[in-house]
């Protein structure tokens, strides 16, 4: 980010204070100017930030530095074409009164703001549907406020009926009350989930059906809300790594890498060349694994069980291979701030090649069953189509966005870890239907394998750790044999890696899309606040847009095609 860009912002928003933090421009505005600022960012061709990535609140109650108000709300927007990342911060004087909503500008604000309300109790005027999203409907209080005790659980009995919401959706879609009352045109309500084989986890999908056609759809999530963000506030930076495994558990190592990358970027740490290459190899390998499971499960939804075995067996074999490297099949926890847990073992390269070949074979077999398969074509082509505008407005990223024809990939558009030096393509869809979403995942696997082969060819030797006693644990010989080493080890374990006070956002192209982390640090070894920007969450927020007007059976395969992973969706 250069100085002229900043001047451009300052000139466009004279009442705001703008500064540059890492890769992003941070704009501080008063609530009354919030709407105009966000509208300006979105509509002004000079900025063209049409992708609202995330909305989050911050509670400064225990923050060492005093701020003008206790609560702040932060909107993170992006111009995907020019790699422009902007955060708009606004103080919230009275959380009850709140601030104006951004839902009329960005559809992704619908769920983003609901989460802020649920977790922080900050109101948004004129939000059409402000209610709890992650916590259950009988929950009292707002858990991410600093004065909410982390262990205060609240028992829930029963289930929210969602009747009001689905009726509102029906009204929006132009189904009149009289149609619903008439016995001939009566609408049937059908509920899938929360525990249903089609939901691949716990999600509740409520539909209003006319015959088999979905007239309206409302979804409820939060069944796997495990308090990642609140728990993180009590852990040191390195202790959080195991928790990140469990966000998207189909590609655990990608979360590990995304997380440490975010911390390292704030510390200003440049990891060693070898570690960078390792991270590329491993994250691409995990991208393949993630897509394998997604497609395998999707095919099962369509009735193709044979496909499942071709794809899943490769994944199963890869788990044992991974456990040789990390010690665990699923939950890798393989990164550390400043490098990797350890180097590749001897013989890794040949093992990897063997697995890549098996995987290629598995995918090849599966593709053969799919490509000319009439059932797959009939069921997926022109079904659950989402336009590029809608996808952007709902905050889609990753393969689901690319299927709608938007060629945005952080590996190309904001490269990290030398991605610019690898030769690979970013597949883009033409329609935005289920077929595109499946095929993009198939193609991405081949591209990832290409990257892995290139990276393994040019991976340099050397350490996988940087040398910095403030960040990386000393060698065990030092810990056992001299007092400095021991004290160093002790301090790092107990106090954690200290980060300078401040706030930042950093993101990574995970298997499902942009996985971002928004941190607030008070200078200690534990984050003051940590918010995840999960790709799934916003994709699920646009689910109704994809399925309304389609058949109920299509909704099931659509859910499989967008790869919703509970751990990441609900955190």
């Amino acid at each position: 980010m250069n100085a002229t860009a900043l001047e451009k912002f300052q000139a466009a928003f004279p009442d705001a204070t703008c500064k540059v933090v890492l890769e992003s421009v941070v704009i501080n505005v008063q609530p009354d100017k919030l709407e105009s600022t966000l509208a300006g960012l979105k509509n002004d061709p000079a900025f063209n930030c049409g992708l609202l990535l995330d909305v989050t609140g911050i509670d400064y109650k225990d923050y060492p530095e005093t701020t003008d108000t206790r609560f702040y709300v932060v909107y993170t927007v992006r111009n995907w074409q020019d790699n422009l990342l902007v955060q708009v911060r606004t103080p919230v004087v009275d959380p009850e009164k709140g601030i104006p909503t951004a839902t009329h500008l960005f559809d992704s604000a619908l769920w983003g703001e609901r989460e802020v309300w649920d977790q922080y109790g900050i109101n948004f005027h004129n939000h059409p549907d402000l209610r709890r999203i992650l916590n259950h409907y009988q929950f009292e209080g707002h858990p991410l406020r600093k004065d909410y005790d982390i262990r205060k659980g609240q028992v829930c009995i029963g289930n929210d009926s969602l009747e009001k919401e689905i009726r509102a959706r029906l009204a929006i879609n132009g189904v009149a009350e009289s149609t619903m009352k008439d016995i001939n045109t009566e609408i049937m309500f059908l509920n899938l989930g929360p525990s249903h084989p089609a939901t691949h986890g716990a999600i509740r999908i409520l539909t209003a059906l006319d015959g088999e056609t979905i007239m309206a759809n409302v979804n409820e999530i939060g069944y796997l809300h495990r308090g990642f963000e609140k728990t993180s506030e009590n852990l040191t930076y390195n202790q959080i790594i195991p928790l990140t495994d469990r966000l998207n558990y189909c590609s655990s190592m990608m979360n590990n890498i995304a997380y440490v990358k975010a911390v390292e970027s704030w510390l200003g740490v440049e990891i060693t060349e070898r570690a960078q290459f390792m991270r590329v190899v491993l994250s691409e390998f995990y991208r393949v694994l993630d897509h394998l499971v997604c497609i395998a499960a999707n095919m099962v939804d369509m009735g193709g069980l044979t496909n499942y075995w071709y794809l899943y067996n490769e994944k199963e074999a890869a788990y044992d291979f991974i456990s040789r490297l990390t010690g665990a099949r699923l939950t890798s926890s393989f990164t550390r701030i400043g490098g990797m847990y350890r180097d590749f073992y001897e013989g890794w390269e040949s093992d990897l090649e063997l697995h890549l070949r098996d995987i290629e074979k598995g995918i090849g077999d599966s593709i053969k069953l799919v490509l000319k398969n009439r059932i797959v074509h009939d069921r997926t082509k022109d079904v659950c189509v989402l336009s590029a505008e809608d996808a952007l407005s709902f905050g889609f990223t990753g393969p689901t966005l690319r299927a709608s024809g938007v060629p945005f990939d952080l590996r190309k558009d904001a490269p990290y870890y030398n991605y610019e030096s690898f030769d690979f393509d970013v597949p883009v869809g033409s329609k935005g239907d289920i077929y595109d979403r499946i095929m993009i995942r198939f193609e991405e696997m081949f591209q990832s394998i290409r990257i892995i082969r290139q990276a393994m060819k040019s991976i340099p030797d050397g350490s996988v750790f940087i040398e910095d006693s403030q960040i990386v644990l000393p060698p065990k010989a030092d810990v056992y044999n001299n007092i400095e080493g021991l004290a160093n080890h002790f301090k790092l374990i107990f106090e954690g890696v200290k980060t300078p006070a401040g706030e930042w956002y950093d993101s990574f192209e995970a298997a499902n899309g942009e996985l971002g982390f928004h941190f607030v640090s008070d200078g200690s070894g534990r984050p003051y606040k940590l918010k995840v920007r999960p790709p799934c969450f916003y994709i699920m927020g646009g689910f109704h847009k994809m399925v309304e007007g389609n058949m109920i059976a299509d909704a099931v395969i659509n859910l499989g095609s967008i790869n919703i992973i509970g751990g990441e969706l609900d955190r």
């Binding site: 992650l134 916590n135 259950h136 858990p143 909410y148 005790d149 982390i150 262990r151 205060k152 659980g153 609240q154 028992v155 829930c156 009995i157 029963g158 289930n159 929360p194 525990s195 249903h196 084989p197 986890g201 716990a202 939060g222 069944y223 796997l224 809300h225 495990r226 308090g227 609140k230 728990t231 195991p242 928790l243 495994d245 469990r246 558990y249 189909c250 499971v293 075995w309 899943y312 067996n313 199963e316 074999a317 788990y319 099949r329 699923l330 939950t331 509970g566 751990g567």
Partner: protein, 170 residues
């Protein structure tokens, strides 16, 4: 649960022979209902896949309706929001039924000691076997299945297990 003739007969040679036959049938044809919520469910998928092949133990008929299942596998974290659903599914399963808590989360809340996570599903429903691990390996899941089979061997049709159970939702 004894409802028919065996209830009248009580504990005698007839019922113990009946036990033997019934248990033999039950233990080798468990029909699981997979209540998969999180990461542990992926390991269940591995258990069912070709390599570990759960059908070697007669338990491959995974049912997606609790009404047709007699083994509840709880794989993953259960939050307070989910607790009523889990309880309802358990109640919908006909007797006799067994429950395995797969993984640290289902057994005790695991690493999530916080406001939204139930600290062990045995606060909601009775559990027969717990598996440690985060996630447990597929072998551990098979091991738990064999434990259930062993347990079934010693059961009798006369006894009504867990009738006094009281959880936080009762």
């Amino acid at each position: 649960m004894a409802l028919g003739l065996e209830a009248k007969l009580g504990d005698n040679v007839m019922t113990s022979t009946l036990d033997y036959i019934v248990n033999w049938g039950r233990e080798n044809s468990l029909w699981p209902f997979v209540y998969g919520t999180a990461c542990c469910a992926i390991e269940f998928m591995s258990t069912a896949a070709s390599l570990h092949d759960i059908s070697r133990y007669g338990a491959e008929v995974v049912r997606f309706s609790p009404r047709q299942a007699d083994l509840l596998l709880v794989c993953g974290t259960v939050s307070y929001k989910q607790a009523p659903i889990l309880k309802r599914i358990y109640e919908q399963m006909p007797e006799p039924k067994w429950v395995i808590a797969i993984g640290a989360c289902a057994s005790s809340g695991g690493i999530y000691d916080n406001y939204c996570t139930v600290q062990g599903i045995d606060t909601i429903i009775p559990v027969d076997v717990y598996i440690s691990g985060c996630p447990p390996r597929p072998e551990a899941i098979l091991d738990a299945l064999m434990k259930i089979q062993d347990q079934i061997k010693g059961e009798t049709v006369l006894e009504d297990r867990h009738k006094d159970f009281k959880g936080i939702l009762d």
